[in-house]
């Protein structure tokens, strides 16, 4: 089974744990790289550009409320970097219209509000998995796999 690499930008330990568990439940072969804040995320991508052995993520899961550069700033940076083709999924507790509109204005690929109940949470992660990892073709897979 093909392994997908996901960069998760999340400061909340609980969410890190939950997402890992939820992907496990969905049954995909997923490798999750965690950045605890905005700066770490940007540093990781910079390293990817500089060091060939680094794993370039297929997908980025980005929280909005983050210490040291918030989600919007990370989004802006990514979408103007050489990795702008990597889809970015915003996963936030905020349902503020400002946050949503701003995210799309900065070219977020989708915006999802974190569910508050476990069933919904797992359903959401399963949906992400089935849509982004199964249904769609990701640009990075083309680059990583020799044709």
């Amino acid at each position: 089974m093909k392994q997908f690499n996901i960069l998760q930008v999340e400061d909340n330990e609980g969410d890190v744990f939950l997402i890992k568990e939820a992907f496990k439940e969905a049954g995909s072969n997923v490798n999750i790289i965690v950045a605890r804040n905005g700066r770490e995320a940007i540093e990781y991508l910079n390293n990817c550009a500089a060091i060939p052995s680094m794993i370039i993520p297929d997908l980025i899961l980005l929280d909005i409320n983050l210490p040291k550069l918030n989600g919007h700033q990370v989004l802006k940076y990514c979408k103007s970097s050489e990795f702008k083709e990597i889809p970015i999924i915003i996963l936030s507790t905020s349902s503020a219209s400002d946050d949503i509109v701003n995210a799309y204005k900065n070219y977020a690929n989708c915006y999802i509000t974190k569910p508050l109940e476990l069933v919904d949470y797992i359903d959401t992660i399963k949906s992400i998995e089935s849509y982004w990892l199964k249904l769609t073709q990701l640009p990075n897979s083309m680059l990583n796999e020799p044709i």
């Binding site: 969410d15 744990f17 909005i64 936030s92 507790t93 503020a96 400002d98 508050l116 109940e117």
Partner: protein, 523 residues
């Protein structure tokens, strides 16, 4: 001839003499000529005009006599000369016993005949004598006596004229002095005026506030010409910014004749605002002590005011940013952590399905429920700090949520009427200001009173107006509760905040202090 005043009051007589300012003065041509005439016409070698101060006899004019003065120690002879109304004529002094000690007879003086007429002042005092003397005993004929009387009167006439002239001269001198003082005062006043005109905005109004006088500075800052201002009421420059209570206080103060001082926001002809620190001085009627005019002296403090307001505004803004950040930390950080913990626990529960002992399920449910409550409380705290809905849907939904919470928490009957869902015309700043002020007033009331109901209405036609009625229940044993409007420091802050957002805050308590009407309006 004046009638002699026979009063023995020497003091009054001496005062009278002094008023002529003649004693000890230089000789005068007119009086010298009178003694010449007297000597010629009465055919005597000696003629004198004499004034006496007690027994000191001094001669203002003298002919044929060396001494300028003599002292008459013999009081009888002194009085004898001084008192008669008519001519005193002595044929031969040497033959008259009364005059044996007379100094005129002393030494080599060969005085025999003597005649004198008293000089009677306007007030009837004999202030001196016209005296003729001869070295031989003689008698005057009727002609000569008449001439002597006439000459006595002429002397007095001259003295009277002389006194008048002196008085006039003195008066003139005094007038000149006063004139000089007046000129100096006028000059000084003009200096003050120049200084005031160049530094302050000055206007004089009548008691109704109609402008009588304005200076150039007033015209310049207001943008009106003098012609446009004179005769107009001074509220021509009013910006309709201050409350009725503010103006009532001003009129009450100056109406009572007291000086009033405060900062006023005025408006120029073109509609711009300017702030003036204003002092109004009432000019009072001397008799009634009531104001007849008002002088207002204003200083342009627009710049300071703007800086002050900007500082206050940036402080408020910083406060709001802090609250927003903290609320976000609570909502997105802490609350989200709790959510994740709860979800993880549920996950654990589902993984252990079938292995959980029967007693443990209720414990897990209890923990889950407690976590849910903690999450809700954290989120509510965040909302109280900064309503999330404020950022999304504006003030109306934020207030709806707030009143719902108050209704739940304190069992207060709340009603909220709004003609619209969002205030299209207002800024987020205005929304937050209104929200904060309304919440502050309710919270303050909750602290000091028991609220029964709150009625809130927001209208935006024609102007944005918020009106709120807070009805309280009387506290047992606390019949007299403090009126809300008396919390001056607190209200001052709120008033300032509303003013900064361009509105006006009015708070009125009912007589029993149980009902408070709050109005916030923008125009």
């Amino acid at each position: 001839m004046e009638k002699a005043n026979h009063s023995t009051d020497d003091f009054e007589r001496n005062q009278e003499l002094a008023s002529y300012q003649v004693f000890g003065t230089e000789p005068e041509l007119e009086l010298d000529e009178i003694v010449k005439l007297a000597s010629k016409l009465c055919e005597v070698p000696i003629a004198l005009i004499s004034f006496n101060n007690g027994n000191h006899h001094w001669f203002k004019a003298r002919l044929g006599f060396e001494d300028k003065e003599i002292y008459l120690e013999n009081s009888i002879s002194s009085k004898a000369i001084q008192t008669p109304d008519e001519i005193l004529e002595i044929y031969d002094l040497r033959a008259d016993e009364r005059f044996q000690d007379h100094p005129m007879l002393k030494g080599d003086r060969n005085t025999r005949f003597c005649a004198s007429v008293p000089l009677i002042s306007k007030n009837g005092f004999a202030i001196g004598n016209l005296i003729i003397v001869d070295t031989i005993p003689k008698t005057l004929n009727d002609n000569q006596r008449a001439i002597l009387r006439i000459l006595g009167r002429q002397t007095m006439h001259h003295l009277n004229l002389r006194r008048k002239r002196l008085l006039l001269e003195a008066a003139q001198l005094k007038l000149e002095e006063q004139n000089k003082l007046l000129e100096e005062t006028a000059h000084e006043l003009n200096d003050y005026k120049t200084a005031l005109d160049s530094s302050a905005i000055v206007a004089i109004t009548d008691v109704k506030g109609n402008i009588l006088v304005v200076n150039d500075t007033f015209c310049k800052i207001s943008g009106y010409s003098r012609e446009e201002l004179i005769g107009q009421n001074q509220n021509i420059v009013s910006s309709h910014y201050h409350s009725r209570a503010f103006w009532n206080n001003m009129w009450r103060t100056i109406g009572a004749g007291k000086i009033w001082r405060d900062e006023i926001r005025n408006q120029t002809k073109s509609g711009d605002y300017y702030w003036v620190e204003t002092t109004i001085v009432p000019l009072l009627d001397e008799n009634t002590n009531k104001p007849i005019k008002y002088i207002s002296i204003r200083q342009d403090v627009t710049e300071q005011k703007n800086i002050q307001q900007a500082e206050f505004q940036s402080l408020l803004f910083a406060q709001e940013v802090d609250r927003d950040n903290f609320a976000e930390d609570l909502h997105e950080g802490l609350a989200q952590r709790l959510v994740a913990i709860r979800l993880s626990m549920q996950m654990l529960e589902s993984k252990l399905k079938g292995y959980i002992p029967p007693g443990a399920t209720s414990t897990i449910d209890f923990i889950s429920e407690q976590l849910k409550e903690a999450i809700d409380e954290t989120k509510n705290l965040a909302i109280e700090l900064m309503p999330r809905s404020m950022m999304q849907d504006g003030i109306v939904s934020s207030l709806t949520n707030y009143l719902a919470r108050i209704q739940m928490k304190y069992n207060v009957a709340c009603s909220f009427e709004s003609k619209f869902q969002t205030i299209e015309t207002t800024s987020k700043n205005k929304d937050i200001t209104l929200y904060r002020v309304i919440v502050s007033i309710i919270e303050k009331t909750i602290l000091s009173k028991v609220i029964e109901s709150i009625h809130l209405r927001i209208n935006n036609e024609p102007y944005l107006t918020v009106s709120m009625e807070i009805q309280c229940i009387p506290l047992l044993g606390h019949n007299i509760s403090k009126p809300l409007s008396s919390y001056l420091g607190f209200m001052g802050q709120l008033t300032k905040r509303i003013e900064l957002s361009g509105g006006q805050l009015i708070i009125e308590d009912s007589d029993d202090n149980l009902t408070t009407e709050i109005r916030i309006q923008y125009d």
